[in-house]
């Protein structure tokens, strides 16, 4: 189709001039032909407001831009949600940039996504045919690989090794190095598995890793790294192995990629293992620092029975937190206070019992994913913040939760 835009200055002029004798006919053909919008001569979108909207019940023309309301008479514009992101397909990659994401809990972290963004920027700077290869070493729950920015993806056979198995993982990576000879290796810095692997690989490849990168100039390839234990910035030419911090680049947002699995066989050499993973150790939630706890049970002035509260925290396996009033009243130690003058918590689940949700308290729980509130006052701010709120008396609810947990435990024991 020939989609070169051709101007018709005469019809444009007639359309602009409402006094022109032919104006109404032109406007009509214009309206029926290209709808109410068209691209003006300067490339700006023009709209004819007389042709949009509908006549409302009061007899006035109504334009609702949300598209929620429309009159029955007007022809229904079929809305097709076309993905406006560009789809990028690389058939025969000439070079590779490899990213080894951390995948905490089998999902891409924000840092992983930033790294794929950085990898795509490096790739497009290098050449059209440079592909970003994601190396997945552990079981993956996410499915949207192309949107994150992977042109190719390699799944290591995760059944062969556990989540922490640096020696076997390193063999996989060296096999990839042999097979693809990537331009760059990217690892998320300050993570428990990938950062360790990145350092092992850099030593193995005899490449001095560029660590703690938080900014990369794509033109000069000078990296800005946090050095001296975080007190200075080191500017240095980037090396082949890059360990990058969170927010080192914007994640991929306006392109989609193929995420085609690698069909080549990657043969990793077996090694004699000298590190054995004996598995996770159950930690006492009461001793986990409040700022790192994953699940916090927090109590405020609305708690009458503190013994039951502690018992509930123990049964749930939650780390205990408190509002300032609870701390001031001496029910909880000072290091358990959540909020502006206490600890800023990062818990995934925050269960608040009898806390009103003062702004100083809410500040401390900004980073929490799921907030559950229990309060007798349905109008308090904590309820507004909560994903689930229950309006009941705290003592009754705690007792009821304890009973149900007890019941479950007995059921499990009976089954076993």
């Amino acid at each position: 189709m020939n989609d070169i835009k051709r101007r018709d200055p005469r019809s444009e002029w007639i359309l602009r001039n409402r006094l022109h004798p032919e104006h109404s006919t032109y406007a009509l053909t214009h309206a029926t032909g290209i709808m109410s919008e068209w691209i003006g001569p300067t490339g700006v979108k023009r709209k004819n407001p007389h042709l949009v909207g509908f006549i409302g019940p009061s007899g006035l023309r109504r334009i609702d831009r949300s598209g929620l309301q429309s009159s029955q008479q007007t022809s229904v514009k079929v809305q097709v949600d076309i993905d406006s992101r560009r789809f990028i397909q690389i058939n025969a990659p000439s070079d590779y940039i490899v990213v080894v994401p951390e995948l905490p809990g089998g999902r891409f972290s924000a840092q992983d996504k930033d790294l794929f963004g950085l990898a795509q920027q490096l790739a497009s700077k290098h050449s059209e045919t440079t592909a970003v290869l994601g190396v997945i070493l552990s079981p993956l729950k996410d499915t949207a690989l192309g949107e994150i920015g992977m042109d190719r993806v390699y799944f290591a056979d995760a059944s062969e090794f556990s989540d922490y198995d640096p020696e076997a993982h390193l063999q996989q990576l060296t096999a990839i190095e042999r097979e693809f000879n990537p331009l760059y290796w990217l690892f998320p810095e300050q993570t428990s598995i990938s950062a360790d692997l990145g350092r092992r690989l850099s030593v193995k490849l005899k490449v001095r890793a560029t660590s703690n990168v938080w900014q990369l100039d794509l033109d000069t390839l000078i990296a800005t790294c946090r050095a001296s234990g975080g007190t200075s910035d080191l500017y240095r030419p980037v090396s082949r192995v890059i360990l990058a911090l969170a927010e080192c680049a914007e994640p991929v947002s306006d392109t989609r990629h193929e995420a085609k699995p690698i069909d080549q066989a990657i043969n990793a050499v077996d090694v004699i293992k000298r590190i054995r993973n004996l598995g996770a150790v159950s930690v006492d939630p009461a001793k986990v620092a409040l700022s790192e706890a994953e699940f916090i049970l927090s109590g405020g002035k609305g708690i009458a029975n503190w013994d039951a509260f502690h018992e509930l925290a123990r049964r749930l396996g939650a780390t205990e937190g408190a509002s300032r009033v609870a701390v001031d009243d001496g029910h909880m130690p000072r290091d358990r206070q959540v909020g502006a003058t206490g600890t800023w918590v990062t818990a995934r689940v925050y269960l608040a019992i009898g806390i009103s949700g003062a702004i100083q308290h809410l500040q401390g729980i900004q980073a929490c994913d799921k907030v559950i509130a229990i309060n007798t006052d349905p109008g308090c701010d904590m309820i507004k913040r909560a994903d689930l709120a229950v309006i009941v008396d705290s003592s009754e609810l705690i007792q009821s939760m304890l009973d149900q947990l007890q019941q479950r435990q007995e059921e499990v024991q009976n089954v076993a």
């Binding site: 831009r65 949300s66 406006s84 905490p104 922490y164 428990s192 350092r199 092992r200 850099s202 030593v203 193995k204 001095r208 660590s211 703690n212 050095a227 001296s228 234990g229 975080g230 200075s232 080191l234 500017y235 240095r236 927010e247 914007e250 947002s253 000298r274 590190i275 993973n277 004996l278 598995g279 996770a280 150790v281 930690v283 790192e292 706890a293 994953e294 699940f295 749930l316 396996g317 995934r348 269960l351 799921k370 559950i372 349905p378 309820i383 507004k384 913040r385 909560a386 994903d387 689930l388 229950v390 309006i391 009941v392 008396d393 009754e396 609810l397 009821s400 939760m401 009973d403 435990q409």
Partner: protein, 271 residues
């Protein structure tokens, strides 16, 4: 709390070496013992009654000596110094020295507080010496003549138990127990002994330059909206406007069921 470090059996002759460096106070900038290295020494001191060997490679002068004495003040009588200039790469010196007088367990910090702070030294040493390496060690649970069992620190205060074959390098994390305080008398009594080693110039660093840390720019929320209405909605949206579910006039039992269900879905409830 977790000072329950394993004691070595006297029959196992596992020699322990601790690698230390110069630290810098993050606020005042004063030189001091490095926090993670001090924790590593603390761990080694808890392992056995015989004194661990403590080695430092780097410049020795009037400004670094008081900082190094901090380690002596923790109760070791001698500190070995492999004297290097500031420009030197310390890894060849350390690996050369440790090759000649090996040690089956080497403890060190994960990241230095001065210079590049890349955290690569333990990895390079492990590679040069052919040792096993475990990073982010929080606790040493058990050491025998051939094996060590350690707990590794994971995010969110979690721990993983790892069995590692000796000889090994254990890089200690800030999750490990805090180091004891420095006793001034012990610090001034201890010996600092220099050992002659060869020096290797670190020529990669010529093009590097350091600057005081810049504050990282705050990431802007980029709104990709096609219409003015979407842009307005994104700009005017309230942060907390998620509109959660509110259960009013329910009994305590029903409330408890609903909460336990959510906790179960989120995977925080183990039973």
């Amino acid at each position: 709390m977790s000072r329950n470090l394993a004691r070595l059996h006297s029959s196992d002759e596992v020699s322990v070496t601790v690698l230390v460096s110069i630290g810098k106070h993050p606020v005042t900038g004063r030189l001091r013992r490095a926090d993670q290295d001090a924790r590593a020494l603390e761990m080694a001191l808890g392992l056995s009654d015989s004194e661990p060997r403590v080695i430092y490679a780097g410049p020795l002068n009037d400004s670094t000596e008081p900082a190094l004495r901090g380690y002596l003040g923790m109760g070791v009588s001698e500190l070995k110094v492999l004297r290097q200039s500031e420009q030197n790469d310390i890894v060849p010196a350390l690996s050369g020295f440790l090759d000649n007088s090996p040690s089956s367990l080497i403890l060190c910090g994960s990241r230095a507080e001065l210079g590049e702070s890349s955290g690569l030294v333990p990895y390079q040493l492990a590679d040069a010496l052919g040792y096993t390496l475990v990073s982010n060690v929080a606790v040493i649970e058990e050491v025998t003549a051939t094996l060590a069992v350690v707990l590794q620190a994971l995010p969110r205060g979690q721990r993983r138990r790892i069995e590692v074959v000796l000889p090994a390098i254990l890089a200690v994390d800030t999750a490990s127990p805090v180091a004891r305080q420095v006793a001034y008398a012990k610090a001034s009594r201890g010996f600092i002994n220099c050992v002659v080693t060869d020096a290797a110039e670190d020529d990669a660093t010529e093009q590097w330059h350091y600057q005081p840390a810049r504050k990282r720019p705050k990431r802007l929320k980029i709104i990709k909206a096609t219409s003015a209405r979407d842009r307005f909605k994104a700009a005017a949206a309230k942060a907390e406007g998620t509109g959660g579910q509110v259960l009013t006039s329910v009994s305590a039992e029903e409330g408890a069921v609903a909460i336990l269900k959510v906790l179960k879905e989120e995977g925080v409830l183990k039973t």
